[in-house]
Symmetry: C2
Subunit: 332 residues, 2 copies
């Protein structure tokens, strides 16, 4: 069985419960499969933020990933898992954010066609990037059914394979490689904290800490305004959000059936942070580390600063998920 076959097999399972879960070898396979397609991103520290938090913080800089977000990892893994025949017909996704860009770029690198359905109100910078990477953009209305309908139409016409941004095993395994790299560099981490929206990054982080950390915990960080993951974990059943009113636009989506059991199994807790705390942390990161990160990235620092007792004296990895911000719409 080659790595693509293994990957496809893990894709077909839809919950950790149904198999023993992706193995260390599965993770290593995906990592080597996507290695030529992605950047190995740097790990950055800040004296100031260490003093402020009382912990040793190691920021994994996915805003310096290709196309500016960790999504490149999952998108690359998902496309690498396709058969030759599937690749010939191309891929389609609906995304207002980074996954659309990631699919566009990964498809471009692998020489296949990409279709991206984008709702009205998508930040200018994200739309332009998708076009720059050569994908075909289809505009649609802001609601989910309009997106799904537009996607279905493209599939009917082109035979393209639909890629889900977070609820698919190849995407989760691809996302895991960020934490694998981080632990390779700082093996003694006591824990890693990642933002949670759709759950694909957090599930990947949980798998990587379990397989490659030494007693390394995994935590999630989430805007209080869209705390479906926090409530889902507490109640043991996937919860929904009544509204999605947060500045962290990458975290508005909801947990899925494939990533939720992995999160239930591998995540110690999820910390919720308010909008003001997200904005303040984003500003701190910009001012102190000189890095442009998006609000979704800032939630992890916001959580560490809000609950210092949980992290004090520990070595903590923080996944900065991306840096694609519309500079015309800054909150400060």
């Amino acid at each position: 069985m080659n790595s693509t076959d293994r990957l496809r097999q893990s894709q077909s399972s839809d919950a950790l419960g149904k198999l023993s879960g992706p193995s260390k070898a599965d993770l290593l396979n995906v990592a080597s499969l996507i290695e030529p397609l992605i950047h190995r991103t740097p790990v950055v520290t800040s004296h100031y933020l260490n003093e402020l938090s009382g912990a040793s913080l190691y920021f994994k800089c996915e805003q310096l990933q290709r196309m500016g977000a960790f999504k490149m990892r999952g998108a690359s893994a998902a496309i690498a898992a396709l058969t030759e025949q599937e690749r010939a017909a191309g891929v389609v996704t609906h995304s207002s954010g980074n996954f659309g860009q990631a699919v566009a770029l990964a498809a471009k690198i692998m020489g296949i066609k990409a279709y991206v359905v984008m709702p009205q109100g998508t930040p200018r910078v994200k739309r332009e990037a998708v076009l720059w990477y050569g994908a075909e953009v289809t505009d649609c209305e802001l609601n989910l059914s309009a997106r799904e309908q537009a996607t279905e139409e493209i599939i009917k016409i082109t035979g393209a394979t639909a890629l889900h941004p977070s609820n698919a095993m190849p995407v989760i395994l691809g996302n895991a490689t960020a934490t694998m790299e981080l632990l390779e560099e700082i093996p003694e981490l006591n824990g890693v904290i990642a933002p949670v929206g759709g759950g694909g990054l957090l599930a990947g982080t949980a798998l990587a800490t379990a397989h490659f950390g030494e007693n390394c915990l995994c935590w999630g960080a989430e805007p209080t305004a869209v705390d479906d993951a926090f409530r889902s974990l507490k109640l043991g059943v996937i919860q929904t959000n009544d509204q999605a009113n947060t500045i962290a636009d990458g975290l508005k989506t909801q947990l899925g059936s494939i990533n939720f059991p992995i999160i239930q199994h591998g995540v110690a807790s999820i910390f919720c942070v308010d909008e003001r705390e997200i904005i303040d942390s984003m500003r701190l990161l910009w001012e102190r580390t000189k890095m442009v990160v998006e609000p979704s990235s800032a939630v992890v620092l916001a959580a560490v600063l809000k609950y210092p007792a949980e992290f004090r004296g520990k070595k903590i990895g923080l996944i900065l998920s991306g840096g694609n911000v519309d500079l015309s719409q800054l909150p400060f």
Copy 2:
């Protein structure tokens, strides 16, 4: 003669014409003297900006220098050049910008007292940083004579040594180390472009390219609104600015008697760029490299994009001078 003595000796000369100019050994001495005090900053490239400019651009990231600007290099070199007795009385500078922070931090590291005179209207983030580093801040009115008077008073009371941000040989030699590092990493550069305000960075860049480059040119980049360096170079005499109305607040100061002859001797040309070009380039850098750089840094990219014929097909080093921006006052 130890390195400190050598450095003091170079400090006492006030023009390249009066001696053969600082030697390669002088530069190497300063580099080793300040090495423990500064960061070696990374060199960053961008596919997108290479395509856009038609050149191969190597950004030297001084916004990731300690306190967020190249000024840390010059300030460290200036303080390292002081005698024990001078250090005991401390140092004083007047600065609305990065040099104040640099003196504050370098003094803190070396365990000496720093006094910083800051005019009204200094960006909040810069003032707070100077205080954070433990310097004593004296407020004064916005005009030059108020600054000088406040500085004189501090000297009278404390005996502190005044440090000039740009027109002093140790500062110039300290600044040169940014380009020395850059050329160590990319020895085949065809040229290096640096912003010019007071002239201390550009003079240092000229010395470094002359001593460590292989047929490596040195260029300056300057806001058209304060084009004193451009006019000075053309006329052969230091010119002044009638006004200082530019977003590149680090470049409002004027050339000095020590750095000007070095610039005359070692700089091929100075390119002037308009305010809109500076803002657009700053935005490009933020969006594409995810790095927070200040407007003064953006002038170098603005020059390369404005005069593509000068740079096309060449390997160009660009000194990004700093990243200390007041996020409440962004131009986009």
